[in-house]
């Protein structure tokens, strides 16, 4: 049998070629050195469409090794369709172990939630970010937002919070609440609920953020000060779940999610 | 008694560029002095240069040459011709007041506020200023209905009283007043004359332009008679 060598090339370990991995790693280093600063990167093409987690994938594939154990969360669940898809993809291209258990995992890629378990300094959390620029809501021009970050000109951001408070009596941002990293940059922590934001502050683990469509990478190194934006008299507060309990386990101290059952309740 | 004002070789010539550089000599080599606490009357025919002289001292007109040495509380002896604008503004705010022949006001300000504005600018206490202003225009006999009306609609005599009031209320160190008693009846004339004499008692020096013999006799310690921009004679009362 004549072997078809032309079309039978196998992929590089972790799908991305080594030169691109090198570039992403370099950008990751830069991101870790400047907490909260968005570093532009090459965002190579993936067999997954933009908007489905390519940024997070880029970061994960650049840092993953044979001995790592991967946990994948999407829409806050390990069993969601996209989570399964991404998990299989990474397993196929790297051969590394996968798990649903937070404590076993070394790399956790996530969208929409930070794990309820506290992460250790042996773990890395990778976020999929739809919109890395927190100022996009107030300023549509990229060159202007870059200047605003460079000069710490964040008055417009504060103003949106003020206006929300004035209009509706409370700051309404439920997810992706803007935070101030290391007293210098305002950062979008990706659409995690307010409940998870305090976990970013002074953590043991490393947080990496990848936005594939927007081509930006940023990071929060361990033990970094991360504070949600708040006024002197209108403070940030997390959701209050004191009056509800989990329907299946009775547990109360985690973020409560509503799920619709087959009978519509 | 110190000399408060010394005018030396003052010359003022108007150069009208839009009339093909027509030149009008208004003041030619004017020299005189004034002592502190003196009231000096400027007399002369119309067009002899009285108002021009007064306006040149106040710096509304720029002299072409000469000196106007004024003894100021803030700066000592200062030449008003060449002084910095900032200093002139300070002097106008604190020491020198000019009362023009006709009342020129913004037509939206009430009579009391016109008079009160002078001291409000200095001390910013509007309520107190209005009280003092009210007292003053009461003394001058302005009818109560007019106190909150707009002076631009008043009669000549009423306007004149507002004009004088806002100059006197400032209690300046040096008062320049142009025709204070024109269009006033005898009774009001006496009131105005008395107010100026009260100022003199408190140390104000006054340079006064008037056509009225009565006012001149009652007020001036010295008279300067101008003709064609030059001093004809100085008469001591």
């Amino acid at each position: 049998m004549i072997e078809n060598k032309k079309f039978n090339t196998s992929y590089n370990y972790a799908f991305i070629d080594e030169t691109t991995k090198k570039e992403i790693r370099r950008k990751l280093l830069k991101a870790v050195c400047i907490p909260g600063y968005q570093v532009p990167y090459s965002s190579p093409e993936m067999p997954i469409a933009r908007g489905w987690g390519t940024g997070g994938l880029h970061v994960t594939l650049a840092i993953i090794g044979k001995s790592d154990t991967l946990k994948m969360i999407d829409q806050g669940s390990d069993a969601s369709v996209n989570a399964c898809n991404l998990r299989d993809f990474v397993h196929m291209t790297t051969g590394c172990a996968t798990t649903y258990d937070t404590i076993e995992a070394t790399i956790i890629q996530t969208r929409h939630r930070i794990t309820e378990e506290q992460l250790t300094d042996k773990q890395i959390m990778v976020f999929q970010v739809p919109m890395p620029e927190p100022l996009r809501m107030v300023e549509r021009y990229e060159y202007k937002t870059r200047q605003m970050h460079a000069e710490s000109d964040y008055a417009k951001m504060w103003l949106t919070l003020y206006e929300a408070f004035v209009k509706w009596g409370a700051v309404m941002h439920g997810a992706d609440y803007p935070v101030m990293v290391h007293d210098r940059y305002i950062m979008a922590p990706s659409p995690i609920p307010r409940w998870d934001v305090p976990n970013l502050n002074n953590a043991e683990c490393l947080y990496l953020f990848g936005a594939g469509r927007e081509k930006r990478i940023y990071a929060i190194p361990p033990h970094t000060k991360v504070e949600p934006l708040e006024f002197e008299d209108v403070k940030f507060h997390i959701e209050d779940f004191s009056d509800v309990k989990c329907a299946s386990s009775g547990y109360n101290a985690a973020y409560m999610d509503e799920m619709f059952q087959d009978d519509g309740i | 008694m110190a000399t408060i004002l010394e005018v030396k070789n003052l010359r003022k010539c108007f150069n009208l560029h839009i009339l093909n550089d027509k030149k009008i000599e208004a003041l030619v080599d004017v020299n005189f002095t004034m002592e502190e606490g003196e009231i000096v009357g400027l007399t002369g025919k119309s067009g002899s240069g009285k108002s021009t002289l007064m306006k040149t001292i106040y710096r509304t007109y720029l002299a072409n040459s000469g000196q106007i040495n004024y003894l100021s509380n803030t700066f000592g002896i200062i030449d008003l011709v060449s002084a910095n604008e900032h200093k002139i503004l300070q002097l106008r705010r604190n020491e020198i007041t000019y009362c023009s022949q006709f009342l020129k006001v913004i037509p939206r300000i009430t009579a009391i506020d016109v008079v009160a504005d002078t001291i409000v600018k200095k001390e910013s206490d509007r309520i107190n200023a209005r009280e003092i202003a009210t007292d003053l225009i009461k003394t001058l006999g302005l009818p109560v209905e007019l106190w909150d009306a707009f002076p631009s609609t008043f009669s000549g005599g009423e306007q004149q009283r507002i004009n004088i009031a806002r100059a006197i209320i400032a209690k300046p160190r040096f008062l320049l007043v142009d025709e204070p008693t024109a269009s006033l009846d005898t009774k009001t004339k006496d009131i105005v004359i008395q107010l100026i004499l009260d100022l003199k008692k408190k140390g104000t020096s006054v340079l006064l332009i008037t056509h009225d013999e009565y006012t001149l006799k009652k007020l001036s310690d010295k008279q300067i008679h101008l003709q064609l921009g030059q001093i004809l004679e100085q008469i001591y009362a």
Binding site: V166, F231 | L62
Partner: protein, 286 residues
């Protein structure tokens, strides 16, 4: 009367020296080839436009300086450069509250310029769209200025915004309305409230009443006059209308073809103008 270095005192709040703005390439002859005596702003050699040149003056605390001239004389250019809206070609400026007036503000970093803009200056534009953000409420616009001046307390911000709107005679009930729903005069008043929100020592007013109806104009000018008396802010008022200048200012600069042709006390400029152009302007008063 020529500008004399020795004639100045030292307690100015703003000092401008040789401020110049040229659009296009220029040589050492460009400034000499333009100006009021040459009758043009455009250099015949290089075709560049000299918007303003050799502008030097001082502003003292609590005083109001008027800048008057016709369209194209360079008056707005001066205040735009001082407010950092426009780059400077040549020249320097010093602000007393910033490092005691020892550094040229045009050579400072963007960060420092932003600090000066937010804490030491206020600007009111002719068009409210330049000074206000129409996607935020009017109270929010004032809040923006306060946030830029580092006030992060919502209660205090609202109190100060109400206070300012009261001062500028805008109904406080409309504090949360968008400026698009206000009349032109009210928009201007919101702009003024925003400009003085941080109690700046310097305020620039660029043709603030051109385009308003006469009665509205009167009201806005009266407001500015009252605020000036009450707060003692040093102001630069730019206008082509001599009656605005007469009402508001203590001193005036007359500009033609980008140069100062006459400077002096406002009443002197109005009653005894020396320069040919000033005489023309004054005689054109309606």
């Amino acid at each position: 009367m020529l500008y004399n270095e020795n004639n100045t005192t030292n307690d100015w709040v703003l000092k401008v020296e040789n401020l110049t703005k040229i659009y296009g390439n220029y040589t050492e002859n460009t400034i000499a080839n333009t100006g009021p005596d040459k009758g043009t702003n455009i250099c015949p050699e290089t075709g560049s436009i000299v918007a303003c040149a050799e502008i030097s003056f001082e502003l003292y605390p609590g005083e109001v300086l008027g800048i008057v001239g016709e369209s194209g004389s360079g008056k707005s250019t001066i205040v735009k450069q001082l407010f950092f809206d426009m780059d400077v070609t040549m020249g320097s400026a010093f602000i007393r509250p910033f490092l005691n007036g020892t550094v040229n503000i045009f050579e400072e970093s963007n960060q420092k310029k932003r600090y000066m803009r937010n804490h030491l200056m206020g600007m009111v534009y002719q068009n409210p769209r330049d000074g206000l953000n129409f996607s935020f409420s009017s109270g929010g616009n004032i809040a923006e200025k306060l946030l830029m001046a580092d006030l992060f307390h919502v209660g205090k911000i609202r109190e100060r915004a109400s206070d300012l709107l009261n001062k500028t005679e805008v109904p406080v009930t409309r504090m949360d309305d968008l400026p698009a729903y206000f009349s032109g005069g009210m928009q201007q008043r919101v702009q003024i409230a925003k400009a003085i929100a941080n109690n700046p020592p310097l305020l620039f007013l660029d043709e603030v009443t051109s385009g308003l109806d006469v009665s509205v104009q009167a009201r806005v000018l009266d407001l500015i006059r009252g605020l000036q008396h009450e707060l003692g802010i040093a102001m630069i008022v730019v206008s082509h209308d001599l009656s605005v200048i007469r009402m508001l200012t203590d001193r005036t600069l007359v500009l033609k073809h980008g140069r100062i042709v006459e400077r002096g006390l406002t009443d002197q400029i109005l009653q005894d103008p020396q320069h040919e152009y000033s005489q023309l302007l004054v005689s054109s008063l309606l």
